[in-house]
Symmetry: C2
Subunit: 234 residues, 2 copies
């Protein structure tokens, strides 16, 4: 239904923009990808995208109803790219971890995507393929339908969530990022032992709080799911 409301992608006649480019939905998504990769996600605005295309920003609304619609198309493109070279290796748990990490990485390229719940539900081709693959791995592990769906839901939301959190760091300039990583040490490393006994005890380890927690998180989730599969098969 969302699909039928979209502006048709195929057009009979085209008129070039003032800069000579003939617009299309694909071309707009191409430009959006380039803009994000070159200047970061915060550089992505309709007006800047128009400028990058050499077209008036309002022309974009002929191809996408609004920014959200454009972002959904972009999301599916990113999912497609990150899944392009995925080949299952035979161990469902390893494959599932790989698949989830790919979802994380594609969401990290454009963090706003992770926040759209709707992105999970648009039913665009690359996403459908990825969901089918993920649930397939869980069925292969021996889970019943409901449990397979639940575990898939858990993994994909966790991947998107960590992408949203980690994107905050990525947004910073490198110098500020380094400062931010040490800030844990600076802010928490010198607290009094009587008031904050645990923080005081682990003060040497606080640098670990910098950086992404996505891999440790996935390791724990996959371990728990593997354990559950093993118990189920007994």
């Amino acid at each position: 239904m969302a699909e039928s409301e979209r502006v048709p992608v195929k057009r009979k006649r085209r008129r070039p923009t003032s800069s000579g480019v003939v617009l299309s939905a694909d071309l707009i998504i191409d430009a959006a990808c380039e803009l994000i990769d070159a200047q970061g996600a915060q550089a992505f605005t309709v007006r800047k995208l128009g400028a990058a295309l050499g077209a008036d920003p309002s022309a974009i609304y002929r191809y996408f109803r609004n920014t959200e619609d454009l972002l959904l198309a972009l999301a599916d493109r990113l999912i497609g790219e990150s899944m392009a070279d995925f080949v299952p290796g035979g161990d469902w748990a390893v494959d599932l971890r790989d698949l989830t990490l790919r979802a994380y990485r594609s969401a990290l390229r454009h963090p706003q995507i992770a926040v759209f719940s709707t992105v999970r539900v648009t039913g665009r081709p690359h996403e459908q393929r990825a969901v089918d693959t993920g649930i397939g791995l869980l069925l292969q592990a021996g889970f019943d339908d409901a449990t397979a769906v639940r575990h898939y839901h858990t993994l994909v939301d966790t991947a998107l969530g960590h992408a949203a959190v980690d994107a905050g760091v990525l947004r910073l300039a490198p110098a500020q990022r380094a400062a931010d990583e040490q800030a844990w040490q600076a802010e928490y490393g010198n607290l009094p032992a009587d008031e904050y006994p645990s923080l005081h005890r682990v003060r040497e380890q606080l640098l670990l709080m910098g950086g992404s927690a996505v891999e440790p998180t996935l390791d724990l989730l996959i371990a728990a799911i593997r354990q559950e599969a093993a118990e189920r098969s007994r």
Copy 2:
């Protein structure tokens, strides 16, 4: 260091705004909370906050350097509120789950917070208290310092991440939210069995993809951490 750059909270003389209110950092945070609770997180803008206070928006910049600084103070307020009635019950794993869920709920009240990596590192009082408590529970479980920090990092980032993802749904109007939950069924429930075998097989269960995955996720993480603690103590 961030602290010393902040505008001092205590002031000698105050002048009321045109509406008669005497501003203070606390009062501004009060108003921000009310605004968010009454009209949702997307209603939170400096200009609207000024209007809610009966003051010119620019007056807010006397108390907070910028929106981010204000959001950090707001975050600490929300953390404090959600931790206010936390009492450890004796089982570290149960307590840790409770603590993490509280972090999730407080971030859910203002989703932008989850995306600030910096929020995790500001070292404000309520946050320090919560971190000390969380790491304390993991030390109590028998983990070494580095592992305790790593597991804490995993839990808190996962809580913030799910809050960011779930906030997308919360943002929708109730009617649209219901439609969104059924969209999984609509978009994925009728795919051909030959092309999407796994999705076709679990099609009756796809409603499970609506709603939050935070509790299933926490259950898996806590199970894995508990298992690791048990193995460690052997």
